[in-house]
């Protein structure tokens, strides 16, 4: 903290994260070398796999959308001093909400109204799933980290129960619901572009991407441009001062967590209404936890989160491409490489800091 104010913003926000990503790729390159692959080729495959053509870009942006939602979710809670580990479960239950509305209303002829209702249900379900741990934190003092983690397990078990016993489609072997009718399917960008005569490859990138951008703007406005946001940040920086200043801490915890849960719940919109068009298991797998790394890397700011989410989306898409193109890189190796990037840019984010502080320290010392 001591040195944090001393670095120019450009170094702090751009140079250090970039250096961490480069380091991570160097470490991942060594791993690829160790298993007998060509690291240069691996990087090529990952980059062209993530940005090489319209299909690759579409998939990257689709994954990015998920990470923006969970990244924002973690950031909102973090500004209130709450560590929301439960994005995974909130996303899962958010998708359940969207899916239930879709299954109930897609054949009723409500037309375009189905989707807004389903989106609202995703937010509501996600918020409700976060509200219980929030209540326990605010009024009973149960630590939010523990309760949100436990709620991830509960979400997973609840979904298994519902999919296997209640929602499984007629004649299905896999625990999946029936397919939604077109009224409950989000429009794909690739279809729009095709309609405009621009030929692109199909990809699952859908209008939930716009929702993600809107969410980023709303979060920024709320946190930095409203009195409520000021109170939220005050609570995060110094709970005692916030209480002294008259902030209703309990209510703030609940509202912040509900907002966080609602944002995470939108992952369900992107996945369930956007691509799968049916309820199934495990569609939220990894996004909740990935969101923590995204928020850390993006310094809990919507702009930073958008870029961090893009990196994670590119890693996920490029990683999949890596296992398509290079047979010696198995799916486990891809996870290891992604893990290294997360390790360097999330967990070890402060490691490279002293190297960049060094040239500035002397100058600042001279001024003092």
């Amino acid at each position: 903290m001591r040195a944090r104010e001393k670095l120019p913003a450009i170094v702090d926000l751009v140079v250090i994260p970039l250096a961490n990503v480069v380091l991570a790729f160097l470490a991942a390159g060594l791993v690829v070398l160790a298993i007998g692959g060509n690291p240069i080729r691996a990087v090529e495959v990952m980059i062209s796999g993530a940005f090489g053509d319209s299909e690759a870009v579409g998939y990257t942006l689709f994954y990015t959308t998920d990470y923006i939602f969970t990244g924002l979710a973690v950031a909102v809670a973090f500004h209130a001093g709450l560590f929301n580990i439960g994005g995974e479960g909130q996303a899962y239950i958010g998708g359940l909400g969207a899916g239930l509305v879709a299954l109930a209303l897609d054949h009723t002829g409500m037309g375009w109204l189905v989707i807004p209702v389903a989106v609202a249900a995703a937010a509501l379900f996600g918020a409700a799933w976060a509200a219980v741990p929030a209540y326990l934190q605010a009024y009973r003092g149960s630590h939010i980290v523990i309760t949100t983690i436990m709620f991830n397990f509960l979400a997973s078990i609840l979904m298994v129960y519902l999919m296997v016993n209640v929602l499984i489609g007629p004649g299905n072997m896999s625990p999946e619901s029936r397919d939604f009718l077109s009224a409950a399917q989000l429009p794909l960008f690739s279809d729009w572009l095709d309609g405009m005569g621009i030929s692109v490859h199909g990809s699952p990138f859908n209008v939930a991407g716009i929702l993600a951008v809107l969410c980023g703007i709303v979060v920024w406005l709320l946190i930095w441009r409203t009195p409520w946001g000021y109170e939220l940040r005050l609570l995060g920086f110094n709970p005692s001062a916030a209480r002294y200043a008259g902030v209703n801490e309990k209510r703030m915890i609940i509202v912040a967590m509900c907002l966080s849960g609602a944002l995470a719940g939108f992952v369900g919109v992107n996945e369930v209404l956007g691509v799968h068009h049916r309820l199934l298991l495990d569609y939220a797998l990894g996004y909740g936890f990935g969101g923590i790394a995204v928020a850390l890397m993006g310094r809990n700011h919507p702009v930073g989160i958008a870029f961090a989410a893009l990196l994670f989306g590119a890693l996920q898409q490029g990683g999949a491409e890596l296992s398509f193109e290079m047979p010696q890189v198995t799916r486990e190796m891809v996870v290891a490489i992604q893990g290294l990037v997360i390790l360097f840019s999330g967990a070890l984010a402060q490691m490279t800091r002293p190297w960049f502080e060094w040239p500035f320290r002397r100058r600042l010392g001279g001024e003092a």
């Binding site: 072997m173 896999s174 296992s323 398509f324």
Partner: protein, 335 residues
Amino acid sequence: MKRGGIRRIAALACAFAATAFLAAGRPVAPAYVYAMGGKFDRSFSEALYRGAERFKAATGIPYVDFEVSRETQFEQAYRHFASRGRNPIIGVGFSQTDAVKRVARAFPGTKFVLIDGNIHMPNVLSVEFREEEGSFLVGVLAAMASKTHKIGFVGGMDVPLIRRFACGYGQGIKYADPKATFLQNMTGATPEAWTNPARGAEIAREQFDRGVDVVYAAAGTTGMGVLQAAADRGKLAIGVDSNQNYMHPGTMLTSMVKRVDVAAFDAAQAETKGTWKPGHVVLGLKDGGVDWAYDRYNKKLVTPAMKAKVDQAKADIISGKIKVHDYESDGRCVY
């Protein structure tokens, strides 16, 4: 003059090659998508891998393959292969059904083969097996090998497909030993049930504690734990899908082999010959689609009487004298 002649012949050969190429439509460049258990599960997916390798050895045509890390990736895998001109694209496992349906709709010119699923589309060949028939045979063997007259079954995910294994097996047991007790457990209700060997071993040990001395695992990688637990306790085990007899010689009674490799090979081979046809094929004992494994690893465990009995049962099923009940026809087990 001579050189010109050679050139003309070369040109003619090229023209022939080109017409052959055009006649066959897209070039044959097969792609394979494995089930959740992964390429080297020594069972279901590995059979697909063997079929792919055999195709490569026989034709010299290289192939590509993919292991998903989550079920939601299936569609991306198919889309990736289809958009890069791969043809035919061959996958195993009913959980790929939806992905194949969607991508086959988007790429009507590409041929798809789904093993263990059933899709009616003009560019999809679905291949299913009569697992109940093969399971019946290994049930006969289990009943004859058991000294405690208690026989176990460990299934993977609790789906109609796996119940079909269990019911055929139970029917075979009762056929050979009407008084035998048949215990069955499923590992779980989600795809995770295919990939949990520790849980498989736990269920097998529990069955052993209840007196079971022959256990049949139809559970993907989870089955590895079952076979290991049997080897540890000196009980007999029956493998599934691939011939798993070699894994624990001495305690592996047999394996119910499901010729996924043959189906995968035949589908790709048919495409090179231009005889590929869409539709729905069900392979049973009669077609060599399922069988029991008898080799040097389990020779000592299978007595001549057992072999005679199971060979008789096999002949009777093929001739129609024994009717093996299909669980999925009415959702009931008939012993």
